[in-house]
Amino acid sequence: MTEQVLVAEPVPAGWPRRAVAAAVRQRELTLVALIVVMGALVALQAPQLLSPSNLTQVSVIASIIGIAAVGQALVVLTRNVDLSVESTIGLVAFVVADVLAVRLLDPPLAMALGVGLGLVLGVVNGILVAGFGVPSIVATLGTLSIYRGIDFLIAGGKQVTLTDLPQGYTAAARATVLGVPLFLAIAVAIIAVFAIVLRQTSFGRQVYAVGSNPEAAAVLGIPARRIVLVVFALCGMLAGVAGVLWGIEFGTINATAATGVVLQVVAAVVVGGVNIFGGSGTVVGAGLGSLFLAFISNALILLRLSQFWLQAIYGLVILIAVAVDAVVTRRLARATSGRRAVAAGGPRR
């Protein structure tokens, strides 16, 4: 019985599994290649692209979005989505900045408060989805508004500016560790940790299992609801980290901070090859996806193209990524057809 309902690691035979792994890896390699090629082409027109200060700037934005995208990837892997991340980022950014502005807490404690707040907001999402069975798109659409509403209640028309923050607090945005921008180092560390957790731990395999085939996961006795609760909590926590970094990077924070960012986060996840229907993809892909999008947006500015193109190009990139994903998964499904389990990432619903 169990042999036939294999989930995360479908089909005893070796090759489809390898094909899946190759496809996923290929997506990551494709992204790396795209970033390099695009970087080279843009640099011909706009050599400033490769200037250290510009690369730092791109990496800072990519890191903030990337950290949030790691959390989003975990949620999407379980066939859910968290649309509230941008409100979490905004609320955390404001609360941390406000607490610092009135000197209520020292920076380390304020940052910890921000991450903790993100965790709490994530747990609320998790309880709604896993506890009350509200579809995640509905639940987080609700909390998207609620968290932003709380932000407005606290902030009103107020804004915290660089001048209000402790001296040197925002310098962290330009700090480096062994020559690597601090934010990038933090993002890489977070991605590495979650990549290992997903690959090496039973929790990680259960995340894939829940998203890959919830019914089978239930039969196997995998505590799907607990897994979903945990990924939402982690997503909120990582959005909290992103919110803290957002505040450091931008310095000026009001109640509208990070509005619209969920588009970038979800785009990074999808472009990074995480299957929107759950069950396949990696956090490394999500991280590369955010780097790719940050590069595009930076290149558009440097090429002096109208920023009005930006929205359209984001949309186009997402469509292309999803289309490629659909084609790849269909091919894979055909290749493994006749077998009992559809390879991870196969069409469902």
């Binding site: 400033q48 700037q57 310095g251 930076n298 500015i301």
Partner: protein, 367 residues
């Protein structure tokens, strides 16, 4: 928040400018005024504290200010000036209003004020046409109505006190850029609000016009970018400007959000010595950057002076010294270099040219 269906282009721009200011009103400091919604936010008996508000027996008038919203640092600054004028004239100053800049919430305050025995109502209209009937009713009841900051519809006020001549802003910005660029030469760029912002576009057009003047021949306007009055977008766009134009000398931001974002970016990039920021901003936002040399000069109008002038105009209307007819002149101590003001077309009085903030005067302002 949106100034709807306002009569003239200039006034539309004015309403938008206010929206912009409201949106940008910063300063972490909590407003000291009480948050009561239907209660007078400020009551200043001025020099004649013994007088009962219902029967003002002092020499001066009993004037009520109804801003778009109370507990807003911008209007608090205007109230400060009005209070000073009340003190000088021996009049009464009261400020009432809603917490929200919404016409439907402002109208009841106007109607209440009409029945409370005030000599004059000074109002910043949340919606020019929406508040007009209530203001006309007040005028019919014999109360003088003065608009300030944001104009009510024509015919619904005796005099409108405009904060500045908007046509002077473009030229002033060109002059500031010239003053800040070494030898008045080099690349300059504009960081604006949204691409569709009426007032910003008008100012930018004026500025481009002004730059044609031979004295600015060595200034090159390389690009205008739009930060949508969003701190993050403005930051990204300002960072982009620094990357795109390594020889950039001045960033001009005719928006309070943009100028703050640009100053922060320039300061964080450590290029305050070679790239200067100017434009329109709030003194409290910009103090640090004025002191450290990132923004040695920028402009706006003096908001306390706006309240001060509005109170004086109300007092003169009440005293019958003026009626609000175009062509009438009057003087206000300490304003307009002591020269008389002339009531212009549509009964509008203009406070003066854009006010220039510098390291020498910045500390006198708190809004």
């Amino acid at each position: 928040m949106i100034a709807r269906s306002i009569g003239t282009g200039r006034v539309t721009a004015l309403g938008t400018a206010l929206v912009l200011l409201l949106a940008a009103c910063g300063g972490g400091g909590a407003s000291p005024s009480p948050a009561g919604e239907a209660t007078p936010a400020t009551t200043a008996p001025a020099e004649t504290p013994a007088e009962s508000p219902a029967a003002p027996g002092g020499a001066g008038p009993n004037v009520v200010f109804i801003p778009k919203a109370v507990n807003n640092p911008y209007f608090d600054a205007a109230a400060e000036g009005a209070q000073k004028a009340a003190g000088e004239l021996g009049g009464q100053f009261t400020q009432i209003g809603s917490n929200n800049a919404i016409a439907a919430e402002q109208i009841p305050f106007i109607q209440d004020a009409t029945t409370q025995g005030y000599d004059a109502i000074v109002v910043s209209a949340t919606g020019a046409d929406e508040v007009a009937p209530a203001l006309r009713a007040a005028m019919e009841a014999g109360i003088k109505v003065v608009g300030y900051d944001s104009s009510p519809a024509e015919g619904a006020y005796d005099v409108f006190v405009n904060q500045t001549d908007f046509s002077l802003i473009g030229g002033a910005m060109a002059q500031w850029a010239c003053d800040l660029a070494p030898d008045c030469s080099g690349e300059i760029a504009i960081l604006s609000a949204t691409a569709t912002a009426t007032n910003q576009n008008a100012w930018i057009a004026d500025m481009e016009q002004a730059l044609q003047d031979p004295q600015f021949a060595n200034l090159t306007l390389v690009e205008t970018v739009y930060g949508d009055d969003d701190p993050q977008k403005s930051t990204t766009q300002a960072q982009g400007l620094l990357q795109k134009y390594p020889n950039l000398k001045v960033i001009i931001a005719p928006t309070t959000v943009g100028i703050l974002a640009a100053a922060q970016v320039v300061k964080q990039a450590g290029v305050s010595d070679s790239v200067k920021v100017t434009g329109l901003g709030l003194p409290n936002d910009m103090k640090e950057f004025v002191r450290d040399g990132t923004t040695p000069k920028f402009g706006l109008w003096s908001v306390p002076d706006l309240g001060y002038l509005a109170y004086y105009v109300a007092a003169k209307l009440v005293a019958g010294e003026i009626t609000g007819a175009p062509g009438e002149t009057f003087t206000v101590p300490g304003l307009n270099n002591g020269q008389p003001y002339t009531i212009g077309d549509k009964s509008v009085v203009i406070l003066g040219p854009p006010f220039e903030f510098t390291p020498e005067n910045i500390d006198q302002f708190n809004f």
